[in-house]
């Protein structure tokens, strides 16, 4: 069964978001990680706009515009500013080498793929494969958070996890009331504030962004 051109393009966009997630796994510089996040948000925005245009769901335009402003411009700019103050370039070393990290993430992503694939969710707006890809994005973001030992990578992992959730919500509920979607976005803003505070406080106290000091539970 050949998917239609619409399904194909939509799935390619979703796959692009997943690949960006993998690229974050191997990005050694904090700045490049933030840029990758901005790119991933742009892809997700593009996907929303594409669904809006092809399925004539006008609220999605609003969502796309909001996520363009928030996730592509404001959040990356905020984190980059925090990074400029922190004066750190390299991400904390990962527990594993890049090749092994990618292989692990691949296994996890495959698990997500088949787990969702066996649920047979049908959607009118996007092909089922996008839901599987969204699940893979979320799982790979978890891998990123687990393997990286610095605050910024973990924050970026969390934000990109939200991107995965956005893709999933486009699949299962593209007609979702706009207010719910916007609430999601503001959740993201709260997370940015929380992570910003963590980054600043942690950096001010320990002069590092690495989380490897956190395992010593002393007062």
């Amino acid at each position: 069964m050949v998917p239609s051109t619409y399904d194909g393009v939509a799935a390619v966009l979703a796959v692009l978001a997943l690949l960006t997630e993998f690229a974050m796994l191997r990005a050694p510089m904090l700045r490049s990680q933030v840029r990758l996040y901005a790119f991933q948000s742009l892809v997700v925005t593009g996907l929303a706009a594409y669904v809006a245009a092809s399925r004539h769901i006008d609220e999605l335009y609003v969502l796309a515009a909001l996520s363009l402003v928030l996730k592509v411009v404001i959040v990356p700019a905020l984190i980059l500013r925090l990074l400029r103050d922190a004066d750190t370039d390299l991400a904390g070393s990962s527990v594993l080498g890049v090749a092994s990290a990618i292989l692990i993430a691949l296994v996890v992503a495959a698990f997500g793929f088949f787990a969702v694939g066996s649920m047979h969710v049908n959607s009118s707006s996007l092909p089922t494969s996008s839901l599987a890809i969204a699940c893979a994005i979320v799982l790979v973001a978890f891998v990123l958070i687990i393997l990286r030992s610095d605050v910024v990578s973990q924050a970026i992992g969390f934000f990109s996890l939200e991107n995965g959730v956005s893709v999933a919500s486009l699949v299962v509920a593209s007609g979702l009331p706009l207010i719910v979607d916007i609430a999601f976005l503001f959740d993201l803003l709260v997370a940015v504030v929380v992570f910003g505070v963590i980054m600043r406080v942690h950096h001010a106290r320990n002069a590092t962004l690495s989380t490897s000091d956190f395992d010593r539970l002393r007062g």
Binding site: M1, V2, P3, S4, T5, D7, G8, V9, A11, V12, A14, V15, L18, L19, F22, R26, V98, A99, I102, L103, L106, A109, A110, F113, F114, V116, G117, P127, T128, S129, S130, A132, I133
Partner: protein
């Protein structure tokens, strides 16, 4: 003359001749473009032909420690590179009589045999750099192999066969085939495979003379005279063969001859060389925009190619796409 029909075996011979005679031209244009991109004038476009002619007129020197394997390697490799164009769609949309004597795996095996015989011949020379090159080429060749296999799996899933002609026809059939994610991912994965196999920049400096960074280039350091000419010619042919597979099987299988008329076959020759040169320019730009990876970082590059190929198969199974 334009409307006379060429016999299918004639077209088959023209396919081999196109690869044989066109390959140095494609390499020459790429080298020239690279020179321009770097602000040099670059070598003449026909320089590879002059080089090959020059090597053919030189004497053959053999190291003391080597046996007949040292001299047989280049010949076997060259024969392999002459065989592969029989199996892949170089000029025609319709399968040629010998096209079914091997599938895409068969072509891969023959290319691997060529790489193996060159590596063996390099190792046989007894010289340290040639042996280092052979060892590295085999190591990275083994690492890239899973990616190639998964690309072939993806192709086989999409077309239900593993014949290159079938995929080429499937791609031509509709745009939805072009944009289906498993195809896009397989194409990108194969693109990275071509980067690795032609010794391009993220993996190897194509025209470098520093032995420590060499992989493929180092294998031929000890050869001279006609065997070296065969190796140089063979490496341009390998490049054009891989470009042809990428273009005519995966990327843009248009401009191929649909009939056996002289005019359309000749047009297909021109179209193939034009497309190969365009693709080569893309590779030249990549060559000039990225830096070479450290040797032990190449595994990361290969891992990302593998990732794309595996995702391609996964997406096919989950979304039918």
């Amino acid at each position: 003359m334009g409307s006379e029909i060429v016999s299918p075996y004639g077209v088959q011979a023209i396919q081999v001749l196109t690869i044989l005679l066109g390959a140095p031209l494609v390499s020459g244009v790429i080298a020239h473009a690279e020179g321009r991109l770097q602000g040099r004038r670059g070598p003449r476009i026909l320089q590879p032909y002059y080089d090959i002619a020059k090597f053919f007129s030189k004497e053959t020197l053999v190291t003391n420690d080597s046996s007949w394997v040292f001299l047989a390697g280049p010949i076997v490799a060259f024969a392999c590179y002459l065989t592969v164009p029989l199996l892949i769609p170089v000029l025609t949309t319709f399968p040629l009589p010998l096209g079914f004597s091997g599938d895409i795996l068969g072509g891969g095996f023959i290319l691997a045999l060529a790489g193996f015989s060159i590596a063996l011949s390099g190792a046989e020379s007894g010289a340290p750099y040639a042996q280092l090159g052979s060892s590295r080429a085999m190591t990275f060749g083994a690492l890239i192999e899973p990616t190639i296999l998964f690309v072939i799996f993806a192709v086989a899933l999409i077309t239900h066969t593993d014949l290159p002609y079938a995929l080429s026809a499937t791609i031509r059939s509709s745009t939805s085939q072009m944009v289906r994610p498993s195809h896009v991912l397989a194409v990108v994965a194969f693109f990275l495979v071509v980067l690795v196999d032609t010794g391009r920049i993220p993996v190897e400096t194509h025209s470098g003379t520093l032995e420590f960074g060499m992989i493929d280039e180092a294998r031929t350091l000890e050869h001279s005279g006609p065997p070296l000419a065969l190796l140089k010619w063979g490496s341009t042919m390998k490049q054009l063969i891989l470009y042809t597979i990428l273009i005519n099987v995966f990327l843009a299988p248009w401009g191929l001859a649909s009939t056996g008329k002289w005019s359309s076959v000749l047009l297909a020759v021109v179209a193939l060389l034009g497309k190969a040169i365009a693709l080569g320019l893309v590779f030249a730009i990549i060559d000039n925009s990225f830096s070479k990876l450290r040797l032990f970082k190449i595994t990361e590059f290969i891992a990302s190619a593998f990732l794309l190929a595996v995702l391609s198969v996964l997406v096919f199974y989950v979304g039918g796409g």
